[in-house]
Each structure stands twice: as C-alpha cells, then as structure tokens.
C-alpha cells in the first residue's frame, strides 16, 4: 500500500488505493451503512420468486412491460421524494395526476389541440396545483396532511366534473399514445445507450480531474473505471434484451426496442439527481428537511423551498398522469385514484426515503417503483383470485421490506442510526 500524502486545507491527507477504497466500503457496509443495497436486494429476491413461479416473468416481453407498467408510479414517486424530503406528504398526488391527465385528454380529444400545445398546458396545471398546495402549507401554515387530504377529495371532484360525471375520454393522438406504449427504434435505442454511458464517464472523469487539480483526495482511478464499466455492462445488457424481437406473433407485428418511457425516466432521474446533489437548491432541501430551524438560521428561505417542493411534486405527478393516460389511451374518473397514491408513496419509502424528512434520493423512487411494478407484474402472472391477490401482494411487499429492515438491523446495532 503506497500512501502518497498531499496537503489539502493545511491538513495532511492519505490518498486511497483501490484496495483501501474497497476495504473502506466493505467496512461501511458491515457497519450498516447500506445505502440502496437492501432495496436492490429485495428486487432481486422478488424477481427470483416470480421467475421461478412463472418462466414468462423473465421473457423479454415481460421485461419491457415492466417499464410501461411502473412508469406511472415512478414519475409520481420521484416528485414525492422531494415532498417527503421536507417531511411533508402529498396525498393528492394521485388525483393531481388524474386531473392533469384529464386536461390533456380533453384538450386533445374534445378541443382538437395538438400534443405540443396540450401537454404543456397539462404540465402547467400540475405546476399551478403544486403552487397552491405549497402556498397553503407554507404561508397559511395548515399541515400538509390536511391540505392534501382536502385536495385529494377536491381533485376527485374536479376530475368528475371535468369528465362530465363519469364518462371517459379516449385519446387518439398517435404521438401522445405512443409515449407510454411504443418503443424506440433499435438504432435509437443503441444511440441513447451509448450517449448515457459516455455522459456518465465524462461526468466521472471531470469530477476526478477538478478535485485532483485542487490537490484534494480523489477516488482511485480503478474504482472510477469499475463504476463506469458496471453501468455500461448493465445498460448494454438491458438494451440488448430490449432490442430483441419480443412480439408473440412477429409475422403480424414486430415488437422491439427500448420503450420510449425509459429515456424519459432516465432524463428525469439525471435531472433531479443533479438538482438534489449538485445545486445549492438541492442542498437547501436536505437542510430544511433535516433541521428546519437550522436552515432558517442559515438564512435559507424555508417557505419558498417548501412551496417549490410541492410544485415539483405536482409537476412530476402531472407527468405521471400523462403517462397513465397515454398508456390507457383514455382517461376516466378513476385515473390517478385507487392504489396509485399509496403505491407511489410506497415506492418512495421502500426505496429508502424517510417519511420524516432529510433522507432520500431520486433513485430511491426508481428502485422502489421497480419493486412495486415487479410485484404488480408478477402477481398478474400468477393468476390468483382477487382476494388471494391482495393478500399475496401484501405479503410480498412485506418480504421485500423485511429484507431491507433485517439488513439494516446491523446498522442499528452499531449505533449508526
């Protein structure tokens, strides 16, 4: 072990090697600092259970289905992560998505607007809703649970009124319906995959370079390469599977390529991860969620932050709504209702976001959403009766969560809580 010591901030530092880095990581894991591992472990366990029970679970077709099925929860959960980071809750996220979905469907179908005008209006609706909720919470001081419970009821009514009391509206716009139904062409699939890998690599290298230039400790180059390699392998394998022919009857209709919704999820994942991790706005969200009083004393505009997270929450819910409507090619008074809200909050929480604020990442929403989607998808394949299905869904959810909880018990035992 060669430990080159440099100076940073007048304090001597030790340059880590690949071995020391891995030892360090392993030490942290053994000490209970598990990060996203347990949720991913839960995902693997679930997939194995379903894969063993039904071999179609591992088919390319089913793999592709997963994305379209989970997208709605993932988008809403991404927005909820922001709200939960502040220790708030948005019970109305489900129906917000429904209302925005209804807006887009009405504009497209009843008013004959085009998608590029209708979609922005729907997204704007989401933003306005979020602003209203945030204002009531931050400025009037009503607890978010009550505000969003009222909104939950209110939007349910708005949806009914918009849809004229119970009818449903079909969307017939090709582009709009393709969003959460169709796939990228094979060549575009590969192009985006390559771009993603190169982008990640560039970000990693530039970070190492800027730290090294300052004389600060950097991650060993080996580790950086391993990270990039890992991501590359993952993405390439996934793309390879998704670009296989997966149509049941290829003669009638060819079905291949990465679902269009995947790059959209990817885009928001990168965007929000960047916002939370690399901007001062994101830092302030964590601060307000961790200790509102400390944040206030540090001069952070707590109220504005609070409003903004509701805006982001409702904005993402509106995207979730668009995806739900696109997938169903229609909107009805139940869009965004039933289990959508609880599944979405569940997705965020299972991924590791705390309901008490200050702890969580956007990737949590994606992993948690994947857990929810896998459960839903797998239960669908098993063919239980309705009652059994509810029961098994509950049990499976509990198993996934137990994996997480038991893995984290070590953490508690070592005092890292």
């Amino acid at each position: 072990m060669t430990t080159t010591t440099t100076t940073a901030g007048g304090v001597k530092v030790v340059k880590p090697t690949v071995t020391s880095y891995i030892n360090d990581y392993w030490g942290r894991v053994r000490g209970g600092d598990l990060g996203g591992l347990p949720a991913i472990l839960g995902l693997v366990v679930l997939s194995l259970i379903f894969g063993v029970a039904r071999d179609t679970f591992f088919s390319g077709l089913n793999f592709a289905n997963l994305f379209n099925q989970g997208a709605i929860y993932i988008f809403i959960a991404m927005g909820l992560v922001f709200v939960l980071l502040l220790g708030e809750i948005d019970l109305s996220a489900g129906y917000t998505s429904g209302v925005c979905g209804a807006v887009v469907a009405i504009l497209l179908t009843n008013h004959g607007w085009d998608w590029y005008t209708a979609i922005p209006v729907a997204l704007l609706t989401g933003i306005v809703i979020g602003f209203g909720l945030g204002f009531l919470v931050a400025k009037i001081g009503i607890p978010s649970f009550v505000v969003t419970l009222a909104a939950f009821l209110g939007f349910q009514g708005v949806l009914l009124v918009l849809l004229g009391g119970g009818t449903n509206i079909s969307t017939r716009n090709e582009f709009f319906n393709s969003l959460n139904n169709d796939n990228l062409s094979v060549s575009w699939s590969w192009i985006l995959t390559i771009v993603a890998i190169l982008g990640y690599a560039a970000a990693q290298f530039s970070r190492v370079r800027s730290r090294a230039a300052r004389g600060l400790v950097t991650d060993p180059m080996g580790i950086v390469l391993m990270r990039i390699g890992g991501l590359a392998v993952l993405l390439i394998v996934a793309t390879a599977i998704l670009t296989q022919e997966r149509a049941i009857n290829p003669a009638i209709n060819s079905l291949k390529g990465v679902p269009i919704v995947v790059p959209i999820i990817g885009f928001f994942l990168v965007l929000w991860t960047f916002v939370l991790g690399r901007t001062s706005y994101g830092r302030h969200i964590y601060a307000v969620g961790g200790n509102t009083e400390a944040a206030r004393r540090a001069g952070i505009p707590v109220d504005r932050i609070r409003i903004s997270v509701f805006v982001i929450g409702s904005f993402m819910a509106s995207i979730g709504g668009l995806m739900a409507v696109s997938r169903a090619s229609s909107v009805d008074p139940n869009t965004g209702g039933s289990n959508v809200l609880l599944y979405s909050v569940g997705a965020a929480v299972i991924g590791g976001t705390s309901l008490f604020g200050g702890k969580g990442k956007v990737i949590n929403a994606v992993v948690g959403g994947a857990v929810i989607a896998v459960i839903d998808n797998g239960m669908g394949l098993l063919g239980f009766s309705s009652g059994q299905k509810f029961i098994f869904t509950g049990v499976i959810l509990l198993i996934a969560a137990s994996v997480d909880a038991l893995a984290r018990r070590r953490a508690a035992a070592t005092g890292n809580r």
């Binding site: 007048g10 964590y286 009083e293 702890k359």
Partner: protein, 271 residues
C-alpha cells in the same frame, strides 16, 4: 475609545406568552472590541441573541446598526447586515456533513453547480486553524460528531464569512483545553481586525482574558455595562448573582419587582 457603537440595542422587551423574559434591555457593541455578555442561567442571554439575529421578534425597542435603525425579521436579514451568530443550541443539520453544514445557505458555486472542491478546501483550512485533531473526515455526518466537534464546526462556520459583528453564545462550553485557547485567540483576533464581537460565557477567566467590556444581565434586566478594566472578578460575580455590586448595577431590589419572578415556581397547578 471606540467612536460610535456598531450595533446598539435600546429598550428591548421580549415576552413568551405571559412570561416576560427581557425587560427594557440595552446593549452597545463597539467595533474592535470584545463585549462579554454574562448572566446567570436563564437570565435571558440566549433570548437576547436570538432577538438580535431575527429568530425571535422583539415586542418593543430599537436596534441600531452602524447608526441606522434596522428591523430584523429573519436570520437572513441579520446576515445581510453582516451579523454572524454561533448559537448555544448549535443549529446544525444532522443529516448533512461537516462541509455542507459550514457552507449552508451560502454555498460556493461554479455556474449553478456546487463547487465542492473549493468548499472542502476552505472548510479544511478553517477547521485546521481551530486545532481540530480528531475529526475523521470532512465528509462525516454531523450527527456522529462529539459534543466538542460539533461546537468547533459551528464556530468555524461563523468565522468563514466577512462579517461586521460576530456573536458567540457560550462557544467554549464543550471544548477541550487546547481548543478553548484557540477559540479565545480567535475571538481576540476578530476584534483586532475591527469587528464587533459579543462573547457569552460563564467562565470568568475567559471573560477577563479577552473582553474589553462586560455587560451583565440579571433576570432579564441589564444590570450594568462596564469596561473590563474597571471591575474585578468578584464584582462581576456579584452582578451576575445579585444584579448589583456596590454602586454599580440595578437599584436595590424591591420585593414587588422581582418577587413574583423569583419565587413563583409552581403556579397554576399542572395543566
């Protein structure tokens, strides 16, 4: 000596519901001087600091900064004026690490991206100047720091900025011998650079070692504000515990004035 006060409080009153905590308090902070604010537990020192920094709203009274009357409604107003505070209850975010806490609310950026390397370097420099020896990493979460380490972070956070007034509420309470010496030296250095410094402390040795003036609070009233050179150790202790010493301090106690406050330890039954 110093010409006009940098910061001046006049006739400040503050009550929490029925409990009057500050009565007509006045205080002057001069540039280039360390003003020690002393007083018994619960005298109202921290409350006064929080009134200055905008955490509490004062009920009445005026605050004058650099000759202009100002209204401070929020901590951001205070820091905009150049008032920096180290609070007794340290107000750190447990879920953030040391560097993140030190730059909270005033992050260094390059474009819109946080400039982590710069912040890390500056934080390291500031901590190194405070004799921090046992911190394992600048990226350690504040939740896992020892009491003294937390306090050092809070102090380092306040001195990172070019401010005009620095107020430290019992900054050395949890510090070790070496660190205490460093902090006192820092306090002196800040004043010598022309800043106005307010130091709250229960340790008379520290107070006499660095302060130029001493202000004594007694049961929410300002008992006296005197030059350090004009008083003795025991006089200050008398001011703290009795509100007066010889001919300085509050007028002799009339039972009606303080009676209620002092003795009323179990009013109104339990709720």
């Amino acid at each position: 000596m110093a010409a006009t006060p940098l910061l001046e409080l006049n006739g400040i009153n503050k009550a929490f519901g029925p409990v009057q905590v500050l009565h007509d308090v006045s205080l002057s902070v001069y540039p280039g001087e360390v003003t020690a604010l002393v007083g018994d537990n619960g005298a109202g020192k921290s409350t006064m600091v929080k009134c200055i920094s905008g955490i509490y709203q004062i009920d009445s009274g005026t605050v004058t900064f650099e000759g202009n009357q100002v209204a401070i409604h929020a901590p951001s107003d205070a820091s905009a004026l150049g008032i920096e505070v180290v609070y007794q209850d340290l107000a750190l975010c447990d879920n953030l690490d040391v560097v993140q806490n030190m730059f909270l609310g005033r992050e260094k950026k390059r474009g819109i991206v946080l400039d982590e390397p710069t912040m890390e370097q500056m934080a390291g420099d500031a901590l190194a100047s405070l004799s921090v020896r046992t911190l394992k990493s600048l990226r350690q979460l504040v939740a896992s720091l020892s009491g003294g380490q937390r306090q050092t972070v809070a102090i380092a956070k306040a001195v990172l900025w070019n401010s005009k007034v620095v107020i430290l509420d019992e900054p050395t309470a949890a510090l070790g011998v070496a660190q205490t010496a460093q902090v006192l030296e820092l306090v002196r250095r800040l004043a010598d650079n022309g800043l106005g410094v307010v130091l709250i402390s229960h340790n008379m040795n520290d107070v006499f070692a660095v302060s130029d003036r001493i202000a004594a609070l007694y049961l929410g009233r300002m008992a006296a504000q005197v030059k350090t050179t004009d008083v003795t150790h025991s006089q200050v202790v008398e001011l703290i515990t009795g509100g007066r010493s010889g001919n300085i301090g509050l007028p002799p106690e009339k039972p009606a004035d303080f009676g209620g406050d002092v003795v009323d330890i179990t009013p109104g039954g339990d709720k």
